[in-house]
Symmetry: C2
Subunit: 477 residues, 2 copies
């Protein structure tokens, strides 16, 4: 993090009047308007139409692909069509990873194909494929404990079953098996890495892709995820007790560098245009599905919330900034670039959070704000309560995926937790398509985002954004 000289910073804070110790409150008129926005959102299908537009007209949009380019054009055009006051892009540069083809088979003892998908940053297998014996582990811990001699030259297979949960906490370990597992296996000399998909669909042969922790291509090994039924099958074959040989044919890898873009639309604040409520989602998706729940929905929720505020008789006091982030999937590239660029302005970020957990209804809110803004958060919670959103005052707010990076710089942030019970059945698979979205549930999300964004924009006072402000909540680098 690059910090501003303290004197400059203090001067800035005094001048803008933000970050003061006075209790922050939301004016009654703003609360009333937020209630109207909330109720209007429930009967507005903008978010669904926006998701349908993105997923139909662009479809899958892997970061750096030709479709990703079209998605940027789409987002610029959509912001304009929705009447946003200001629309612009900011460049984001990242390694360009491509997937060309992928195939796998059990060679012996029972020859048959297996359905898998390569993981982000996986290199290709050698020409002609990688043929090696499989060694299975129940968990990441078992792999950690394993003697490298048992792994060297083999294909490591971590057969961990990810747990289904409303708050998605099973993805903690699930994604660790996918992110850290390949790196660990490579360190121990494995020739390749397979995991049982980090997903909760037990019966679909739709493997879940996702990023690995590989950062140094020289140390990376071919890595892929088996669908759950294929993992079942491999485990059954291994249970016969004979050596099992697999052949992996992955044609994928990093082919250079690419510069994409965060796309930003603003509803310009009437009184404090420089102060922003930041909301958003990420524009990129994995290539397998059309990125409806991950994260067309997030982009659409934020765009539609901004549009509802745009349609009010007058502009809000502060700016509503909607950010469609580039390349979240392969390592928060858009979020990190954004935070690097805007770290110096963190105190001007009134409050922020991103939607990136599908399209299920929001059921919990938590916040990382200064103590003097807790009452205002309580006021927001009261407006959201009829939507089924419970305020958990004991939890910090994280800001979502990409905006977690601005939160790490000191931006006050909410967490608006969606019901993720079914999210991991589909995310990162071919099945992430529009039909997974319930328009009414999506509209509930818009109601939450429109109401909270407006109230934050109209607040008398701030929520405590300042450089490094929320390190105590675990936000930091």
């Amino acid at each position: 993090m690059r910090r501003l000289p303290l004197t400059l910073l203090a001067a800035g804070l005094l001048a803008s009047g933000i970050a003061s110790a006075v209790t922050t409150t939301i004016p009654t008129t703003a609360v009333k308007t937020a209630e109207q926005l909330r109720d209007r959102a429930l009967h507005d299908d903008t978010a669904y139409q926006v998701t349908a537009s993105l997923t139909t007209e662009v479809g899958a949009r892997l970061a750096g692909s030709e479709a990703d380019r079209r998605a940027v054009d789409w987002a610029v055009a959509k912001f304009k069509e929705l009447g946003y006051d200001k629309v612009y892009t900011e460049p984001v540069t990242y390694p360009l990873w491509v997937r060309r083809s992928e195939r796998a088979a059990i060679v012996a003892p029972f020859p048959q194909p297996l359905a898998l998908t390569a993981l982000g940053y996986s290199p290709a297998t050698p020409k002609g494929g990688l043929r090696a014996e499989v060694v299975r582990f129940d968990s990441l811990d078992a792999l950690k404990a394993a003697d490298p001699a048992a792994i060297k030259g083999k294909i490591v297979y971590v057969d961990y079953h990810m747990e289904r949960a409303k708050d998605g906490h099973g993805y903690g370990m699930g994604s660790a098996v996918r992110v850290a597992g390949p790196v660990l296996a490579a360190e121990k000399g494995a020739a390749g890495y397979l995991l049982r998909s980090a997903g909760t669909d037990a019966h679909e042969r739709a493997p879940h892709t996702g990023v690995t922790g590989f950062r140094d291509p020289a140390k990376a090994i071919p890595a892929a995820a088996l669908s759950n039924p294929d993992a079942d099958q491999l485990t059954r074959v291994l249970a016969y007790g004979k050596p099992v040989t697999l052949k992996l044919d992955l044609d994928c890898g990093i082919v250079g560098e690419y510069t994409g873009a965060n796309v930003i639309g603003e509803i310009t604040g009437r009184r404090h245009p420089e102060q922003v409520v930041a909301i958003g989602g990420h524009l990129d998706s994995w290539d397998l599905g059309t990125g409806a729940i991950d994260d067309g929905a997030g982009v659409a929720i934020a765009m539609a919330a901004g549009k509802l505020i745009h349609d009010l008789p007058q502009r809000p006091d502060r700016t509503i900034r909607v950010i469609a982030f580039a390349n979240e999937e392969m390592g928060l590239w858009g979020g990190r670039a954004y935070a690097e660029k805007h770290a110096g302005e963190v105190a001007k970020f009134q409050l922020g959070t991103e939607s990136d957990f599908g399209a299920g209804p929001i059921w919990r809110m938590s916040a990382s704000v200064k103590p003097e803004a807790r009452d205002a958060i309580g006021q927001i919670a009261k407006v959201l309560q009829p939507l089924g959103v419970a305020y958990d005052a004991g939890r910090p707010g994280g800001g979502g995926s990409d905006l977690s990076q601005m939160h790490a710089k000191g931006m006050a942030a909410l967490s608006l937790t969606q019901d993720g019970t079914k999210y991991f059945d589909w995310h990162h698979t071919p099945n992430d398509t529009l039909d997974k979205i319930d328009p009414a549930e999506l509209a509930q999300n818009v109601a939450v985002y429109a109401a909270f964004s407006y109230m934050a924009a109209q607040a008398n006072g701030d929520f405590g954004s300042a450089p490094g402000a929320f390190a105590k909540d675990g936000a930091g680098e």
Copy 2:
């Protein structure tokens, strides 16, 4: 059908004493043993183990493939392992169709890939792919009514939604769109054919393959099924009202002729070894899944039922013949070859039926038998009733898929209708895997097959099998 000279036939009937007008009954001791078989079957996991063995050790087994060859070896070995008295094969010759690769994309106006799968007997697209405009129809009737001028050179897309039903009746129209649709489109000059999968899974990008009605390769056009979400997508794209161009790349086709085998295991009858109760399933599967519900389960149900009868203190009066048919999927080749070969012995087939509708519980029984055997069917029904099987005396029995061909020759037949509510979510897709089978439901099927087969084998009298006997029930060629 090749018919025997009538005099020979009459002599044969008189000699064997079958097909008499005396009322057929099941002796009380046989009923008691059948009840024991039924109850024992519910606690026997042989069928599940057999299905697991076939789907794990062989996996997918497209007719004529190397895996199909291994499946034949597997079936011979499994019959022997289960203790069958006699195990043999009979050759079945059919056109050899292969699938090498398949790919499709919307080229314009919104470029993106589509998930599809080629249909059985589809030829390949020209080298470089088939690029053409799509023309959409709601139904087969709409296609029938269409002017060939609107179709010529285009890719016909029939967007028919198959209906979910416990008895699977939605597959009537669903499969007609797949079987007859491509032939009709080709006749009208179409360059290619697509359908919304004949399946009931609305949310999986797992297209359903299946056979077409193409018999003359010279008149065939490339034909494939889109998954339901991909069909939704194509329909949405078409709704923009612009011309939609697709590109299909199908590498598949008929490459010659192949001779596979029906595999037959028998529990030899003690008193009338030449008279047979015929049960079975089909050994081949489509190549996409591992053929657990279609039709590993059917083979396993019949094998396990025979095994339970085998384990009785003494052999049944008549022979229990379990047939694992070759290449049902691409046109009942095994069933037709079997019926051709055994038509002359039809009167010796006491009763028969095949399991080929998944692994859901049997809920209905119906029969095509002579009137004098209705009481015996009633006796069978009474034994099956505690399993939840309702006897519908007003419906004919069809004998199942391959054995419908022996029924057409005059074999008395049952229909044992399984609950097919979920069957068409998975059949003919990559998702037809072992995890779709509930072992308890599978065991219920074995209970039904073991009990009815034994009772039929022990009956005093026959069920009316005779050349052409059930033409009135719709059985015939």
